[in-house]
Symmetry: C2
Subunit: 242 residues, 2 copies
Amino acid sequence: MPTETLPEHIVKSYDEDLRHLRDMTARMGGLAERQVADATRALVRRDTELATEVVQRDAQIDALEREIESFCVRLIALRQPMAQDLRVIIAAMKASNDLERIGDYARNAAKRAIVLASLPAIGSLAGFERMAQLVQENLKAAMDAFVTDDAEAARAVWEADEPVDAIYNGIFRELLTFMMEDPRNITAATHMLFIAKNLERIGDHTTNIAERIYYAVRGDTLPEERPKADQSAYAVVRPAGE
Amino acid sequence: MPTETLPEHIVKSYDEDLRHLRDMTARMGGLAERQVADATRALVRRDTELATEVVQRDAQIDALEREIESFCVRLIALRQPMAQDLRVIIAAMKASNDLERIGDYARNAAKRAIVLASLPAIGSLAGFERMAQLVQENLKAAMDAFVTDDAEAARAVWEADEPVDAIYNGIFRELLTFMMEDPRNITAATHMLFIAKNLERIGDHTTNIAERIYYAVRGDTLPEERPKADQSAYAVVRPAGE
């Protein structure tokens, strides 16, 4: 039965389904954003209570991922969507996957923040706050682009991850220097290294989401290589005087 | 038009499509497995040429992910699959996502192996070899379970990740001790920490794949919490004598 002959309320309800899917995904994005914000706040304020809340709240994100996935599967089975609608549904399903990973990284950062609160503080956390701020902004912009079907906004998010990588590289080198200066810094600095890496990975997953939105709207992929400044896998930092 | 009235060759060709999808996914799994093996071999033998090959070969995995995704989208649009077929298609799409991440972790490990080849060797790599061996076996078992629709084999993979986490915890503590003993070990030990973390994450993605296969075959999810031994996020290692 071609769409034009369907009673209007059925067509409307399909639009409502797609709207509901976008809303659920945006809600999941908002939750992930809050987890990143709270994990970072817990780190900076040495607030183990807040960190514990972040760890516990992760289950909500996981539940939303399952909800989105089954909603998508039902939508595909019942509505047999084509072209852009199908791409949007696939994008929502894949984005929920990325958001679940972002939630896991925030939870892991919160766990490490709990340990760090029991160790002597080292260095400044300003870099972490800036990184977290940037990835939150990008995540919010990505979810807005998804809700409004805005391919250009998605492309802007995809391009905006470079400063995140640059801050990560700076933190990486600084922490290695702290470790070399005093072995008592090593445990704390290692946990901080992993938190910085978590934030950097959250940035990467946000660009994944942006790519998926761009593809859903345009039916066309972004170039394979995006601007990327993370060179830390190749970094060599030597102890002073060596 | 109900299935029983379709000419047999059309039904066959749908089965062939699903078979092709399983084969593509298994091929992608085989490639990911090889990347893990070669990255680890490059690390152990300090073979920068092999490590460079691993870095370059990652593009093949990314291409396969895109191929699987568009094949799945076409399959959904043309065949309008229901129930188990739809679950298998969704599982293949999500598994290809996990395999792409596994490929990225192997590439990152290979990049770090290149740097490590230029630094003095520290500690034993036996733990890395064992971890890599275990995750490869699990990955292979997961792909076999996918091809043969074997939910019980998938559950076994899902349960088999615990020893991987246990080895990771051991490596984590050992590397922190090396760092504390001599600051000249810090750069190498940090890269090794991240490689160990990469292998641990590869193990986690393999359990994700196993969960998806179980769900595809049974239409029922595994319990939320799987046996997990990675406690490193909570680890505190203190310098000797403190």
